[in-house]
Every structure is written in structure tokens, then in C-alpha cells.
């Protein structure tokens, strides 16, 4: 092992045996031989990386890509099927907080038990006791049994122990969701402090922002292999793009499914319309003289999409059919976020478009130059009215689309801006 390295992972492969129906009992093992069928699932297909002493590394990847397994192998909870993992120094993991807490024992006693699980001796725990208590802000409750604690207090105490172990290598799995905002900020600062002291840190997280703030390096794992390894600044945009595309595929499937459903509904409603009543469906109303049949959102290339990058142009196309001539028609759109808040709405009348009538089937489109909505899921309402204000076809939540972005700005929309000093 190289002297400068804290972790060396060499060509590690990990296979899990997935039983279709596992029997752990003698009877099951003997009687139902066939139940012992299993398949081997390779979660890691040969990953190698070294982590230098004092380096902080973030592991990212979509669910099930093998990043948590990697972390478990590093903690030695599991062992690799092939390959080797070497670590130098004391390892502490923030994977399971409060392991070994006994509800009937006092907070203080549990600190001893919990810290001892990290391999600390009594003397070492005594030395750290003040730090732990101070960090947890729980001094007045320390002699109460842990079962009287709120879950937040419980986690705070557990985190305080784990973070004060003074390990050489710290392994963290999605942990910074402890306590209220203030305590989270405190944990975060503590982590930075620990890193400054030269502790090697490996974090698994879905929060790229957190990784960017702490880590010098990001390893992106995909399908049990390392897909990218480099500065967070370089790896994260690539990863975001990849995830955005993935989401697009999912969102499209979702929309196709919804369309299929609403298509059926429309058919049913058609029958309803003949019987003269369609009041049941609150998502769609109008006199039915014209009807929106299909809504598409197009990207720059004119391809139908349902996920867009913040700042990109979108063209909304709607096919309509006409049953009866609509004089002085007005088309409108409304965009709502998931909280039901309208983020934008307009129509052809507001935009003072020349009057027009709908006589036969056609397609209306509206082009939005730059949609600066911040990441999230948005719902699109479409409406046809006649000038006198009579709804012809008001279609609520006609389309669902998603925005994604690599920039971490917050709010509802991005306002174009420049900084100056």
C-alpha cells in the first residue's frame, strides 16, 4: 500500500446472491430444493480507485448503481467477491447512527456504549465526553433515559458521538439530514473542520451541492463501474445531463400512460356529452364546440419532449378539432407549479392578437423564447374561449413537464443577471 494513500480499492467486484424464495430452515432446505434457486447479481463490476490521505471524495450515481455497496465494502460490513480493499487508520462510519443505543439507559451511558462500538477505549471516551455533550446541546437531558428523547434529540446525540470519534477515515452515507437547519449547518461546519484536520472523507450523497462544498473529487458510479472520476465541477454537469436525459425518458413514458388513460376518459365523456351532461369531470369543461385533442411540447429541434433545461426555448403545439364554428376564438395557456401556484398565464386576447374564428380542425402553436422556470414539475392548462368569455374547451393539467438545471439557484424563475464589483 502506498504511504500517501488512505484507501486503495483494486479491481473490486461484488456479487449478491438473490434467492427467489429463500429457506433458512431445515425443512425448507430439504423439502423445497427448487426454492433454493438463485441468481447472481453483480452489483460492482470491477472498480478501482485510490484515495489520498486527507482527501474528501463524493460518490454519486443513480439509485442501485452500487455506490452504497461500495461504501459498505469500505466499512468492512461486507467483503468483496473479488479484488482487494485496503484502508489505513481508524475508520468511523456515519452510516448507522445510534447503533447499540439502549432505550432504558441514560444518554451518558449510551454515549459510552455507542462510542465503544467505534472502537474507543474508556479513556478516549472520557477525553471526548465534553466535546460530545457540547456538540449535541443536550446537557440537561444527559441523565434521562434515551427512550424519553425525541427522535431529533436521539439523532443529535448519535451524530455527536460519531463525529467526535476522531477517525482517520470517515465514511458518510446521506447523513446530513439530522435535526433542524441550525444543527445541520453545525454538522456541516464540523465536517469541514474535520476535513481541515486532515481526515480522509468518503461521502455518498444525492445532494451534489453538499458534495461540492466538502469534496475535492467526485467519483460517479454507474452500473457497477466508474463512469467518471474527477473534480466535482467537471463531473457534476456531466452527471446532471445524464440524469436529465434519464428523467426525460421516464417523464415521456408517464405522459404516454396518462394520455392513454385520458384518451379512454375522453371516449367515455363523448357518450356523456350525448346524454347532455359532463359536469362530473372537473378537469375539463366547456361547451364542446371545439376541442383540444393533443398537446405537444417541442424543443429547439422540434422534437417532442417533456423535460427541458432551464433557459431553453419551448414551443407548445395543440391540435384541435371543431364541431361547430367558434367566432372570435381565444387560446390561452397557464403554467402552474406543483403547489398549484400559477407561474405564468396568457392568452391571445391579452397579447392583442387579431381576431380569428375556428371553422375547421387545425393546430395552434405558441413559442416561448426562453423558459426560465427553475427545476421542478409543472402543469400546463390549455383553454379555448370565445370572445364573449364562454369557455369552449377548458382543459386543466393538459400536460405535465419538468425543468432541470445544473445551477443551484433558488426560487420560481431565473432572473437574468450579472454580478459586478
Amino acid at each position: 500500500m502506498d504511504k500517501g494513500n488512505a484507501i486503495e480499492v483494486k479491481d473490486v467486484k461484488k456479487k449478491f446472491r438473490v434467492y427467489f424464495d429463500k429457506g433458512n430452515q431445515l425443512k425448507e432446505r430439504l423439502l423445497f430444493r427448487s426454492r433454493n434457486r438463485y441468481e447472481d447479481r453483480w452489483v460492482l463490476n470491477g472498480i478501482s480507485f485510490n484515495v489520498k490521505k486527507g482527501e474528501a471524495v463524493g460518490l454519486i450515481g443513480h439509485n442501485g448503481c452500487g455506490k452504497s455497496t461500495t461504501l459498505k465494502l469500505l466499512t468492512r460490513i461486507m467483503y468483496p467477491t473479488e479484488g482487494t480493499i485496503e484502508l489505513s487508520g481508524r475508520v468511523s462510519s456515519l452510516i448507522e447512527l445510534g447503533a447499540g443505543f439502549h432505550p432504558d439507559m441514560s444518554g451518558r451511558e449510551n454515549i459510552y456504549t455507542n462510542a465503544s462500538i467505534f472502537g474507543l477505549t474508556k479513556k478516549e471516551i472520557d477525553e471526548r465526553m465534553d466535546d460530545i455533550v457540547e456538540f449535541s446541546e443536550m446537557e440537561q437531558f444527559l441523565d434521562n433515559p434515551v427512550r424519553t428523547y425525541s427522535s431529533g434529540m436521539y439523532m443529535r446525540l448519535a451524530f455527536s458521538v460519531a463525529i467526535n470519534v476522531n477517525a482517520d477515515i470517515l465514511l458518510i452515507d446521506e447523513i446530513l439530514a439530522v435535526g433542524d437547519i441550525n444543527f445541520q449547518a453545525k454538522c456541516f461546519n464540523k465536517l469541514k473542520e474535520i476535513k481541515a484536520q486532515g481526515t480522509t472523507i468518503v461521502i455518498v450523497s444525492h445532494s451534489l451541492g453538499q458534495i461540492e462544498q466538502i469534496c475535492d473529487r467526485t467519483i460517479w458510479i454507474d452500473g457497477g463501474k466508474i463512469k467518471a472520476d474527477g473534480k466535482p465541477r467537471d463531473v457534476h454537469p456531466e452527471y446532471m445531463d445524464f440524469m436529465g436525459q434519464k428523467r426525460q425518458v421516464i417523464a415521456e413514458k408517464e405522459n404516454a400512460r396518462k394520455e392513454e388513460k385520458s384518451g379512454k376518459k375522453a371516449g367515455e365523456r363523448g357518450e356523456d356529452a350525448e346524454s347532455g351532461e359532463s359536469g362530473e369531470d372537473k378537469k375539463r369543461w366547456g361547451n364542446g364546440h371545439a376541442r383540444i385533442n393533443k398537446v405537444r411540447l417541442l424543443d429547439e429541434q422540434g422534437k417532442s419532449q417533456s423535460a427541458f433545461a432551464t433557459g431553453s426555448p419551448i414551443t407548445i403545439e395543440m391540435d384541435y378539432s371543431v364541431r361547430q364554428k367558434v367566432e372570435d376564438a381565444v387560446f390561452g395557456i397557464g403554467i402552474f407549479n406543483q403547489n398549484g401556484q400559477q407561474v405564468y398565464g396568457t392568452n391571445t386576447r391579452i397579447d392583442q392578437m387579431d381576431e380569428f374564428a375556428l371553422e375547421k380542425d387545425g393546430t395552434m402553436s405558441v413559442h416561448l423564447d426562453q423558459v426560465n422556470l427553475l427545476p421542478g414539475i409543472y402543469l400546463l392548462d390549455i383553454a379555448i374561449e370565445s370572445q364573449v368569455g364562454v369557455p369552449v374547451d377548458y382543459f386543466r393539467e393538459a400536460y405535465t413537464f419538468e425543468m432541470y438545471s445544473q445551477i443551484g439557484d433558488v426560487g420560481i424563475v431565473r432572473l437574468n443577471h450579472q454580478w459586478k464589483i
Binding site: F16, R17, N24, Q25, L26, K27, R29, K72, T75, R76, I77, M78, Y79, V91, S93, I95, E96, A99, G100, H102, D104, M105, Y112, T113, A115, S116, I117, F118, G119, L120, T121, K122, I125
Partner: protein, 258 residues
Amino acid sequence: MKHLKELYDYREMIYSLVRQDLRGRYKGSVLGFLWTFINPLLQLAVYTFVFSIVMPNNIEKFYLYLFVGLVPWLFFSGSMTGGAACIMAQKDMVKKIYFPREVMPISYVTSGFVNMLFSFIVIFVVILFSGIGVNPLAWLCLPIVMIVEYIMALGGAMVTSALTVYFRDLEYILGIVTMAWMYLTPVVYSIDMVPERLRPLLNFNPMTPVINAYREILYYKQFPELRNLAWAFVLGLIVLAIGILVFNKLQKGFAEEL
């Protein structure tokens, strides 16, 4: 060797788990820790009643004869059967956090051992009151016998705890096995009662010399037969060696099996 050092580093964990187990055992009960003493006393009362009144026996002060053998036996059988479940019981910890897995059987057996020591306080008191007398020199051998038994129990617990993870029935099978084992060990009877031709079988049983040694010291007020004790010690080491081997082989898969 490196592993042994690591285990040593985790001594505080063993200590806390033992303490937690001993204190947590009777937590919430009215008498609390007193149960550690009351329990063996009540057992003794039952045995005295059964073997002095219901079915009298020609062994003098049979209740004492039985008790000095039974207490160590219960520690041993408890280590085997309870020890079998000790890793399963700490599933969440094993699945989510690293520590040398040997800590679990070690702390389980140790806590049983400490519990036995408390029971021995009761035994000492009863012996003093029974008028049977003491041989202070022979009593000096007592710690040796206890250590031999501890080694044996630990080896056994390591095997059973590791195997149970993969094969859950073992826990229940062991219940019967230890019961049968008890009757193959001169716990409730004296070895003289056994037909001559069966004795080699009994002597092959590693627990026989251990129980006999306790009895020689406490009941017969004699030095234990050193040859038997040495044999028991060797057997204990063999059991422990097997235990360590099996445990090491199996422990890597614990997290996945649980």
C-alpha cells in the same frame, strides 16, 4: 495477531455490552438487579424440595451436590443456546456498522459468566450455612476451573452463533441437544451411578471433567484431579480453536445473510 490487537481495542465495547446486558436484563422489574441473586436461590429451593421431600436420594445433601454442578452447567448450556442467537439478535448492528464480529459471542458468554459468578456468591453463602465446610486451598483452584469452562463455552458459542446465521433451525435443535447433553454429563447424578461400560462415553464429554472438578472442590472439599482438569483444558482449547476457525470463515457473509 493484528486481529487480536483489534479485539483488544474493542474491549470497551465488550465491557459496555456486558454491562448493558447485566443491567438491562432485569431493568423495569421491581426487584431489579436483586433478581440476579433471587433467581438461583429460588431454583435451589425448588431442587431442595424435589430431591429431599418428593424423591429423596441417598447422596447426602443432594440439593447442594446438584446445585454446585447445575450452576456451571446452566452457564455452559446458556452460552451454547443463547449464544446461538446472539448475532441474530444484533442484526441491525451487524448489518450497518463495522466492529470485530467476535465481540458479540465474547460479550454474550462473558455476561453469562459474570452472571454465574454472582450465582456463586449464593453458592458460597449456602455452603457456609449448610455446615458442609470449606477447603480454602482447594478453592484456590476454582478460578482455573472457571477459566477452562469459559474457554469451552466461548468456543461453543462462536460455532453456534456463526452457524445459526446461515441455518436458523440450529437455535431450536440446540435446545434439545443441550438437554440431552446435560444428561450425558454428571449434573443430576453421580458418575458412579453410570454403568461401567458407558463411562468412556461420559469421559469423552468435555464437560464431565469440568463439572466433576467443581464438585470435587465445593462438595467433596478436595483438590480436583489435575489430570482430568488438564484434559479439560486441552479440550477447551481445541473447541475454541475450532470456534475461531469456523467463525472467521463464516463471518464475512453475516451482513448479506441477515
